[in-house]
Symmetry: C2
Subunit: 320 residues, 2 copies
């Protein structure tokens, strides 16, 4: 009998699920809304119910499953199977996620941080091409990272390995939500791009649609900045150049430290595609050490929203 995996990607808005083969092919996908009411106390029961319901729906049996893997926000204690401090889920106290999911489904359960899990997904079935040294950076509202080195996902002593978003790229630069200054996240996340655009618009005096919209008090998005830059808007081009400079610096230094085969760039900002990649690579080449420049390459993520469920499912391979 074929053995299957279940991947769960727990987010503040939706919980995504997938059933995969043990070689990582997605066979079924579904999602439910995340109910964060009552201190997030409905989340784990909803996960259990949704899994049990779908196993029945697809005429499958619990014994077919190697395990369930999940990516979650917050701080994960992998040994205890608990999560704490996932504020977008309203999880303020320690949640016994592993115990509850295993009791409710009768299937083995394991989990990790959401950015780590997305990194595992891109490494396994995406742009990382199943390499043993793959770094993943996701440019969304914030910036997260998942680092696989010598075949292993890195966690660090307090689970903070891969905090690429909080690498300092501009000492005395923008104040970050984390309390320190000049974090990459303040320059190259979706909100960072807008911050850079607003600041540069103030000083810019030439002709620019981006400047007009900014001065006009319109809502500026990272997507708008990249779209305008692609169409040649003088200010937007400069904003993108600055963003790519900081990304190139941070990823160059990440590569000088870990020398991965590839650094995979995902998240909303990476929708700018090759236009972004080419400009980041220009600065990456400037900041990477020769051996690193010749052996580490930058790539765009390929799995989109599926990276989470696929990477989460891969965690459960450890039960095999």
């Amino acid at each position: 009998m074929d053995r299957k995996l279940i991947g769960v990607d727990l987010g503040g808005t939706t919980i995504k699920f997938a059933i995969l083969t043990d070689s990582g092919e997605v066979q079924q996908k579904w999602s439910v809304e995340t109910n964060i009411l009552d201190e997030g106390s409905h989340i784990v029961p909803d996960i259990v119910e949704s899994i049990n319901h779908h196993i029945k729906l697809y005429n499958m049996d619990k014994s077919q499953f190697i395990g369930i893997g999940m990516g979650t926000p917050g701080t994960v204690d992998r040994e205890k199977g608990t999560v704490v401090g996932a504020y977008n889920l309203n999880w303020k106290t320690v949640q016994n996620v592993k115990a509850d999911v295993e009791a409710g489904t009768g299937i083995k359960f394991t989990m990790d941080n959401d950015a780590n899990v997305a990194g595992l997904g891109e490494r396994w079935k995406g742009a990382g091409e199943n390499g043993s040294d793959v770094s993943f950076v996701t440019l969304g509202t914030g910036i997260g990272g998942g680092l696989i080195a010598d075949g292993q996902l890195l966690h660090g002593t307090a689970g903070a390995a891969g905090e690429i978003g909080h690498v300092t790229v501009e000492p005395n630069g923008y104040l970050c939500t984390c309390g320190k200054r000049g974090c990459l996240e303040q320059y190259a996340s979706a909100t960072g791009v807008v911050h850079v655009a607003r600041d540069m618009a103030e000083e810019f005096s030439g002709d620019s649609e981006l400047k007009r919209q900014t001065d006009d008090g319109q809502d500026i998005t990272s997507k708008l900045v990249f779209d305008l830059a692609k169409s040649g808007d003088a200010l937007a081009v400069r904003v993108v150049d600055k963003v790519c400079y900081y990304l190139g610096l941070a990823l160059g230094n990440l590569a000088n430290t870990l020398n991965p085969e590839s650094i995979v760039i995902g998240g909303g900002v990476s929708a700018a595609g090759d236009y972004l990649l080419k400009q980041v690579d220009h600065y990456f080449q400037e900041f990477a050490f020769t051996t690193v420049r010749n052996s580490t390459s930058l790539k765009l993520a390929r799995l989109g929203n599926d990276a989470g469920v696929i990477g989460a499912a891969s965690l459960a391979l450890s039960f095999n």
Copy 2:
């Protein structure tokens, strides 16, 4: 019968040897000069002869040894057991080190890069206290690094993981021997400290013994700069502050990336001791993300010259 390890630390001037127990206690130490004549062709035979001689001298038997581990300059191919490009040994072509040492001694042999091996030593029996996440940085003529994450030594895809010396700390800064600009090595290695001192002396107008000696054309060393700073020399104090700023920035970002339990600082420059550590830590605190600041600590290396042989010996534990 007790099982022993042999550790070899191959350098451009001396080859250091040690016999250790499998728990890492050094029982015998000796060293020989490195003979780099004839394209370094005497080196491996000298290693073989010295090991065989000492095993006999101590009335030991080959069967007592788990294996020989060695740290070497150059680029190591760990699978093939070869080294290439170790210019300070005059090794320009590929050297079949493993095959030759095993044939000559009858003992299993393994090796790794010298900075990696020193990192393993400090992790095992030094300041790293056998932790599973330890980063080692050596501030010598150049700057090297050895990174242990989740219990494993990191190599990267082309063996360039841990190139902390070539992390860019000052875009458009000093030109490095590697061809790029602003590498940490140009500011915080022994030669880097002198470079910073010379540049700052030019612009300094106050009273300073360091300035007098520099203007006088005397030989300035990193040790002199730190000694004068400790005695309150106004220019030397500023030079040390700048050096520690760059170290704090690079190590803060290393910690934001790997979140090790400890970052161990070794090499000649670290002889400045707590005076150096305290000032680097000041900037480290500024550049490290909160979780990292609370879980990663900076430490001085403890093993001195023994880090290499001890770490090298630990490689041979893989034969156990």
